[in-house]
């Protein structure tokens, strides 16, 4: 290894740590904002051009489930399923009028801001997207993001003036308080590295079945109650376990999102512990 090579390697290592520190101190935010402004048209074009090929390759390589998956049908299905879920939710909530009134007081009218997806996290470890609306458009950290079919997509975790970063519910760091609509069993829906969702901390006594809707519970104040997350795809119960293992299929096609809606009327709340 020559001195020149060593110098380059050392320089890259130092630059890496310096950039990590700069990112930690949010010094890179303006640079990221400008870069996205400049490159997002190119990225969107490239992404649009490549998508049919990617869909074709993915259909071939993903042998298990999706040879007949049709994107338009999926979106339509998502919309109809959401309507069904909302209808069921209303039916259930009518039985608890007080709770319903409380929800209505908290969220009198949903106001959405639509935004294009301009970039995606390119690592395999994270599930984050960037959208073309930022603090200048009224987007704030903590606001929730839904698909056009009104299924939960994620939460805004970072903003710049023109863009916002949305951590998807499938991100390994995501955790959403949720309930199973039919049985009212509660738990936490978490993301996985492979983009799947699992509902944790569901007690053994809860009666669950495949196809049950999973919606946000509103517990903790970070998400409004009643937003559809997905449907139960499998339930594994073992006598020796404290909790059931529940796998959830998200309704929104998160890997193919092009446009999302930010729920700007919902402001997350931070609950303080009782004195």
């Amino acid at each position: 290894m020559t001195a020149r090579t060593l110098a380059w390697t050392s320089f890259i290592a130092i630059a890496a740590f310096a950039l990590m520190a700069a990112a930690r101190l949010t010094l890179l935010d303006p640079v990221e904002n400008v870069t996205l402004n400049v490159t997002s048209p190119v990225q969107t074009t490239l992404s649009t051009v490549t998508r049919p090929v990617a869909d074709w390759v993915n259909n071939i390589t993903d042998a298990g489930a999706l040879s007949d998956e049709n994107r338009a049908l999926r979106e339509e299905n998502e919309r109809l399923t959401n309507e069904l879920a909302r209808a069921r939710e209303q039916e259930i909530q009518q039985q608890t009028t007080d709770d319903l009134n409380l929800v209505r007081q908290q969220f009198p009218a949903d106001v959405f801001l639509d935004a294009d997806v301009v970039a995606r996290d390119s690592s395999n470890a994270r599930n984050v997207i960037a959208i073309g609306a930022g603090s200048g458009d009224g987007v704030r950290e903590g606001m929730i993001v839904v698909s056009e079919g009104r299924s939960l997509v994620g939460v805004v975790t970072k903003t710049s003036s023109d863009h916002a970063w949305v951590t998807l519910i499938t991100d390994p760091k995501s955790a959403v308080s949720a309930i199973v609509q039919e049985s009212r069993a509660d738990g936490v829906v978490s993301g996985n590295y492979d983009g799947s969702l699992v509902m944790e901390f569901v007690g053994q006594g809860a009666a669950l079945k495949e196809g049950d809707f999973v919606v946000t519970s509103g517990i903790g104040g970070r998400y409004p109650a009643g937003v559809v997350i997905g449907r139960v795809s499998s339930v594994q119960t073992a006598e020796q376990d404290l909790f059931q293992k529940v796998e959830v299929d998200h309704l929104a096609s998160l890997s193919k999102l092009e446009k999302v809606l930010v729920l700007t009327s919902f402001v997350p709340r931070t609950l303080e512990s009782p004195q």
Binding site: M1, T2, R4, T5, W8, T9, F11, I12, A13, A15, A16, F17, A18, L19, M20, A21, A22, A23, L28, V31, E32, T35, L36, T39, V42, Q43, T44, L46, S47, V49, T50, R51, A54, V57, N58, T61, D62, A119, R120, D121, S122, S123, N124, A125, R126, V128, I129, A130, W165, P172, K173, S174, A175, S190, N192, Y193, D194, G195, S255
Partner: protein, 166 residues
């Protein structure tokens, strides 16, 4: 090779990686065309040529790919370490060398990403991460490597061997 040529290629490659390649999911992971290209470039052109490209592509991918540029740079740095193997002439087949370095570099790259994600919080399991995407990513990138390598060999014969060697 002038640095600006390599820098331009690295910049474009990072944008393609962030906007196009990430849409492809094979075994549940996206191939890392940029990493494979950098390794092929390393074997064909040498360590001195690839280091500036690592710098530019790492920063660009970090900025356009919604990751921390520093973390991406750190994750790409092991390519330089593997480059020493090329200089030592331990492996005489360039293709085998590419496959070996791609496998090792991908493991290192994804492990840095995994550890970075774990360090920033969340309830993450390292074994699940290795099983879910670190090993699959290495396999997918190794499968992609011969195509990229042969394309580059066609474009430019290796300096090291002076003649084609597979």
């Amino acid at each position: 090779m002038r640095y600006w040529t390599g820098a331009l290629i690295a910049f474009l490659l990072a944008i393609v990686q962030a906007s196009s390649v990430e849409q492809f999911k094979i075994m549940g992971v996206s191939p890392n065309l940029m990493l494979v290209f950098l390794v092929a470039w390393l074997v064909v052109r040498g360590l001195d040529d690839v280091l500036p490209m690592i710098l530019v592509s790492g920063i660009t991918l970090g900025l356009v790919g919604l990751q921390s540029p520093g973390v991406v740079l750190l994750a790409l740095l092991p390519i330089a370490g593997f480059g020493v193997i090329r200089e030592l002439h331990i492996i005489h087949s360039d293709l085998v060398l590419v496959l070996f370095i791609v496998f090792g570099s991908t493991i290192a790259y994804e492990m840095v990403m995994l550890l970075s994600t774990m360090a920033s919080g969340g309830t993450l399991d390292i074994m699940t991460g290795i099983e879910s995407f670190v090993i699959p990513a290495a396999i997918v990138n190794v499968a992609l490597a011969p195509f990229v390598y042969f394309f580059m060999r066609f474009a430019k014969p290796a300096k090291r061997m002076g003649q084609l060697s597979f």
